[in-house]
């Protein structure tokens, strides 16, 4: 009886592990190149829409490219 329980537990762990591994394989990779030449790659668990990608690029530009900014003032 004890052997059956141990085998069942091991099988359960194997199934859960396999499911998690399978889920990880569904990650999507995205690369961003900023105007100051920073190459930034991220992985996300689902496909991103265009708006999110542009927002993300906006964030990266603000984070990495501030020293290269030129002061522009609209008259």
């Amino acid at each position: 009886m004890k052997k059956i329980i141990a085998l069942a537990a091991a099988a359960l762990f194997l199934i859960v592990g396999a499911l998690k591994l399978n889920a990880q394989e569904n990650w999507h990779c995205y690369g961003f190149l900023t105007s100051c030449g920073v190459d930034f790659c991220i992985e996300v668990p689902c496909e991103l829409d265009d708006q999110f990608c542009l927002d993300y690029l906006d964030f990266l530009e603000d984070t990495f490219c501030t020293d290269d900014e030129i002061d522009i003032e609209l008259e």
């Binding site: 996300v44 689902c46 999110f52 542009l54 984070t63 990495f64 490219c65 501030t66 002061d71 522009i72």
Partner: protein, 293 residues
């Protein structure tokens, strides 16, 4: 020249002069709408050179004001044209216009409703936006007799401890509106210039004019919803209290791992370190202000 001709010539001169005279008058108390141009500078770290936002605007109309970056407003306007409701590009030309907008641009916006005595703050951190509305607290301005002229306006000085910082402002009763940049308000006139005692932040009025478009405030107010939205693979929008919003945004701007977590993204430890090294930010309302509140 006979009488009729003289009368005609005189009338012509009067017609030419009146429009010119009207256009040359500065914004006055009688106007219920005004728009102003400001420069805003802020330091991301005490030892760094300040970041300059040279296209800030203050729109005031019908008891409501909005302080925003002109290029952020243009971005938001183009957003509606460029993307559909699922975040997919529907107009490549408008999308390209967004990419070509100049930087830096301040993504944060302040809407002050003097009639409802409430302030709405909108924060933009890439794919995460936050909206917070709070009752307005009146700065306890200590008025001084000191005066000077700034951009042609007769200004007087006032100081106050407000939202965790000691502010010095110059206001003008030539424009008797209680408005000012960001959340600075409640002086006897329009706030023309302001800086904190640590010289981290400064605002300066550059010009005033008649409001050319009284629809911007309503557009921005509706563009950032009053309910939280979370989309898988899409940008997120949170509606929080002012304290929660300020603390969340400070963390998003200083903690790379937190930003990655909130955007459901992961990256290499090398890139994460690189991001963290570049994330420098000092909030207008210091963290210490919120302790015990």
């Amino acid at each position: 020249m006979n009488v009729v001709s003289r009368f005609f010539v005189l009338s012509l001169w009067v017609l030419l002069i009146i429009p010119t005279a009207a256009n040359s008058q500065p914004a006055t108390a009688a106007q219920s709408s005004i728009q102003c141009g400001y420069h805003f500078t802020r330091k991301d770290a005490p030892d760094k050179a300040p970041r300059k936002y040279l296209n800030m605007r203050l729109d005031y109309t019908d008891g409501v004001s909005m302080f925003y970056d002109l290029f952020t407003y243009e971005r938001d306007s183009l957003w509606v044209l460029a993307f559909d409701e699922n975040g997919k590009t529907k107009n490549q030309k408008e999308y390209d216009k967004i990419l070509s907008l100049p930087r830096p641009r301040l993504g944060d916006i302040t809407i002050t409703n003097f009639k409802k005595t409430e302030i709405t703050q909108i924060y933009y951190q890439g794919p995460i936006t936050v909206r917070a509305t709070s009752e307005m607290s009146v700065p306890d301005w200590e008025l001084s007799d000191e005066s000077c002229t700034i951009e042609g306006f007769n200004c007087k000085k006032a100081t106050a401890d407000y939202l965790g910082r000691n502010w010095t402002v110059w206001y003008t009763e030539d424009v008797p509106l209680p408005a000012g940049p960001w959340m600075l308000w409640g002086a006897p006139g329009l706030i023309v210039s302001a800086h904190d005692s640590e010289d981290i932040f400064s605002f300066r009025l550059i010009w005033t004019d008649q409001l050319d478009n009284n629809g911007r405030i309503a557009f921005i107010d509706s563009h950032y919803p009053i309910k939280s939205i979370r989309k898988n693979g899409g940008s997120s929008h949170y509606v929080l209290s002012l304290k929660e919003a300020e603390q969340m945004c400070t963390r998003l701007r200083t903690d790379a791992a937190y930003f990655m977590e909130m955007t459901d993204a992961r990256t290499s430890s090398e890139l994460l370190d690189k991001m963290q090294n570049n994330m420098k930010y000092i909030p207008l309302i210091p963290d210490a202000y919120w302790k015990g509140k």
